[in-house]
Amino acid sequence: MNEKLKLGLCLLAGFAAVSAVWIPAGLPFRPVQFPVWYAAAAVAVGLLAYTFEFSRRNLIRLTGVAVLLSGLLVGLGFSNENAFGRSNVVTVLNRHGELGVICVGAALLIITGGIDLSVGSLVGLAAVSFGVLMEAGVHPLAALLAVVLVGLTAGVGHGLLVTQLRLQPFLVTLCGMFVYRGLARTVCKGGTGRVAVETAVGSAAEKAKAAAVVGEAGEDARMAILGGAEKAADAEAVAAAGRQAAEAVSGSLLDLRFWLTGKDLTEREVFPAQLVLMLALAAAAAVFLHRTAFGRYWYAIGFNAQATKYAGVNVWRHQVSVFAVCSLLAALGGVLLFLYAGSVKPTDAGQEYELYAITAVVLGGVSLRGGEGTAIGVVLGAMVLPVVRTLMNFTQTPSDWVPWMIGLILLLGTVVDELIRRSKAGR
């Protein structure tokens, strides 16, 4: 009864929190799909709150990032009068979501005591592969599935190398980092090529046009040789089918882009779809981490894999699964990157994302030593970097300042965090 009441209150709080962003920012409620996304976000936030254990230890972990974020948001508010206007809110939240999807996977892995340096390269490989498949006219959903499966396979590979050959995760994924970056360039046929949504849509349109040409040719043939009527009809049918398929592909690609990133046909960001996706994934991670036996095992493995093994847990299976989830979400992040950015280059797509992800989750209270961290913390940690970027943008910070400013702000965040933790834990 008590638990149910708590769940109810948390869900209400989730709706309140999401409404507080959705309504003032003027995000749409029509057509019917939008309320579904809105509700999904609200339920996800509610679950994140419900599964969060209000212990001193957990609150201490969140203090640092909460203080940092509040400061940044206040700064953002002063930097530009449109800072909390609709378009900016959607952009910031979308970027937050994109990084967050990757962070959820990285956090689970780091909690179990692992690390993945190949995330950025895998994002790049996934983005480029998805783009190449699009340009080849593969159906977007099939391509999405294929790319995510590649990510999963890579992750299982990392996990097996780490658990069965007892290699260090750092080393295995460092090698992965080179391999996937190289594969991205190979897939794209040459180092400097790029793949783009417009090209993919364009090539589908080309095909439709080509099909039409075949049809016309058939028409001509019929006119020329009456006896070839049957063949000509065939040609026409083929052309029609080709046109239809090509239109379907280009149409569903744009649909997919809309539902995953919130960008409509005119490239305008209508709603923060990536954020909703990330919240849903984070909520799932929260339930796993804080409510299920799996979460218990993951925390236990992160602190002391040895003792967990002695407790009769099949430690290696859990480790492999978590590596797999991390890489799978990196691949998904790659698809999002391609759709959101519109075009990616194999040389730098997703570059340094692993470092952003690690920094974000550490800011969010996940310890690199393993065994510590909360799902809410990861969500908050992933928000820091996009907000910092936007703030730099608004204050017209010279672009060459951006990297070191980011570095210093993140350093500040970790230092504040460490100091808070020390002063409170010391007692």
Binding site: A293, N304, Q306, K309, Y310, G312, V313
Partner: protein, 501 residues
């Protein structure tokens, strides 16, 4: 009368959740060898570390030659002539003996160039090795290649190089062969003659009688008494160490007779084990004590049966059913549960709470579709904490902050909730205070009374004699012999453990 070399007066040391040293005093003259005796967890090692500057006392003081000293680091203590020879030796294994002898204080030539003065190194190093009875040619051997006994001698030589006036040795013979041990005794005699004092922690009575002038006994972090050389006898030591009558210390209510065989091990061979196969039986409701010297292979055998070491031959049957054990999970499912020797490394997730640890192996019974049922879990925690009398404020308390005894109760609690068929205890009371020891012995007795087959590996002779219904002794990986309760004696066990017939 001049001041003694070392005086510790009212030393106090507090660790989270446990007062390790409570008003402990001792004194040591020049050229004297002092034994520090006590049960595990009595505070011997802590006292040594306080004197050697590894820990700083929270109260009381340490005086050297009558002058109060404060060592912020082990280096400060070493410079003042106090060197600690660790249980885990602190040598750089990849470097030569010579390099180790002078590590951090290499004699240099060439002024600011700081070139190594190899000539004087070799000369001084040779003399140091001579004092511990090693030939000078050893200077150029890599430390990692030396057997444990010689590493120990190298470490002593290094301390002598620092002009040590006091050497502190923490169970120096625990990993040495008899021959190496004899050599160490000779070195200690020579040091003594040269006016160097030695503090010596040991559990071995014969050893204490052989080389110590006096014994200080600690119990639960307090001084329990002191014995002059002539008074060092087994009874006197145990009386001071345990501080009570032994009878009530080892309760026995269960009757170990006629239980059917639960675990049967036939011709077992395992990876990293000896070439001999091992066979033994374990009956319901009995406590089988397993004795042997350190390194006899007892822990390895238990690891094989718990699935931590690949079994390469032979058969394990549980209640007549053959059992295939490839990983701990298989053993746990079958009801063979291990309380490991290294509780902090293998038994517990120290950074997590008492409840978290109690739940860990029991989650399959506390979850619905993998989601934990909070009420059932809380009830299980409350029941375990109550029945085992774990002293903890709440189930959320971090387990690493509990005392050794309470930590061990949590390890027991993890398994008891599963209903063990075979409970394997590897050094169950190591690092456990005396009060909690009795509770653990009571618990073992109760479990045997309920028909659990208990297999207890122990190096603690009192425990072996007091708790076991039957004793098997291992020597170099094979079972050297079996003794029924009536015939168990320290002498009989030691004869088998050292390979005597």
């Amino acid at each position: 009368m001049s001041a003694p070399l070392l005086e510790a007066i009212g030393v106090r040391k507090q660790f989270p959740g446990v007062l390790a040293l409570d008003n402990v005093s001792c004194r040591l003259g020049r050229g004297e060898v002092l034994a520090v005796v006590g049960e595990n967890g009595a505070g011997k090692s802590t006292l040594m570390k306080v004197i050697a500057g590894v820990y700083q006392p929270d109260g009381g003081e340490v005086r050297l030659n009558g002058v109060p000293v404060w060592f912020p680091t082990p280096l400060a203590a070493m410079n003042a002539g106090v060197s600690l020879i660790h249980q885990e030796l602190n040598l750089a294994e990849n470097l030569s003996v010579l390099d180790n002898l002078f590590l951090g204080r290499e004699p240099t030539v060439g002024g600011p160039l700081k070139l190594l003065d190899r000539k004087s190194c070799t000369a001084v190093g040779g003399r140091l090795l001579e004092r511990v009875g090693l030939p000078a040619a050893y200077l150029f051997r890599t430390v990692g290649e030396l057997p444990p006994g010689q590493k120990q001698l190298v470490e002593i030589a290094r301390a002598l190089g620092l002009d040590a006036k006091l050497l502190i040795m923490d169970e120096p013979t625990s990993s040495l062969t008899q021959k190496e041990t004899d050599r160490l005794y000779e070195v200690i005699d020579a040091l003594k003659a040269a006016g160097v004092s030695v503090m010596y922690i040991s559990h071995r009575l014969a050893e204490i009688k052989r080389c110590c002038d006096r014994a200080v006994v600690l119990r639960d972090g307090k001084n329990a008494g002191e014995l002059a050389k002539a008074d060092i006898t087994h009874d006197n030591l145990v009386r001071l160490m345990v501080g009570r009558d032994l009878k009530s210390f080892f309760p026995r209510t269960h009757r170990a007779d006629g239980g059917k065989t639960v675990l049967s091990v036939r011709d077992l061979r395992y990876a990293g084990g000896p070439s001999h196969a091992v066979s033994f039986d374990l009956k319901a409701g009995e406590v089988l004590g397993m004795a042997g010297l350190v390194g006899a292979g007892r822990t390895e055998l238990s690891e094989a049966i718990f699935g931590l070491r690949p079994i390469v031959g032979g058969e394990v049957t549980l209640n007549g059913q053959p059992l295939r054990i490839r990983r701990p999970n298989d053993a746990v499912r079958a009801g063979i549960l291990l309380v490991p020797e290294d509780r902090r490394l293998n038994g517990l997730v120290l950074q997590e709470g008492v409840g978290f640890n109690l739940s860990l192996p029991n989650l399959s019974r506390l979850t619905t579709a993998a989601v934990v049922r909070p009420k059932d879990e809380a009830a299980m925690h409350a029941e375990s904490i109550r029945s085992l009398r774990v002293k903890t404020p709440t189930a959320a308390q971090t387990v690493g902050l509990l005392s050794g005894g309470n930590q061990q109760k949590v390890v027991f609690g993890k398994w008891l909730a599963r209903g063990p068929k075979v409970l394997v205890l590897d050094e169950p009371t190591r690092g456990v205070d005396v009060g909690a020891k009795t509770e653990i012995y009571t618990l073992i007795d109760e479990l045997a009374g309920r028909g659990v087959a208990v297999w207890m590996i122990t190096s603690d002779m009192e425990e072996l004699l007091g708790v076991s219904d039957r004793v098997v002794v291992m020597h170099e990986g094979r079972l050297a012999g079996e003794l029924p309760r009536e015939k168990v004696s320290e002498e009989a066990v030691m004869r088998l453990a050292t390979g005597g017939a």
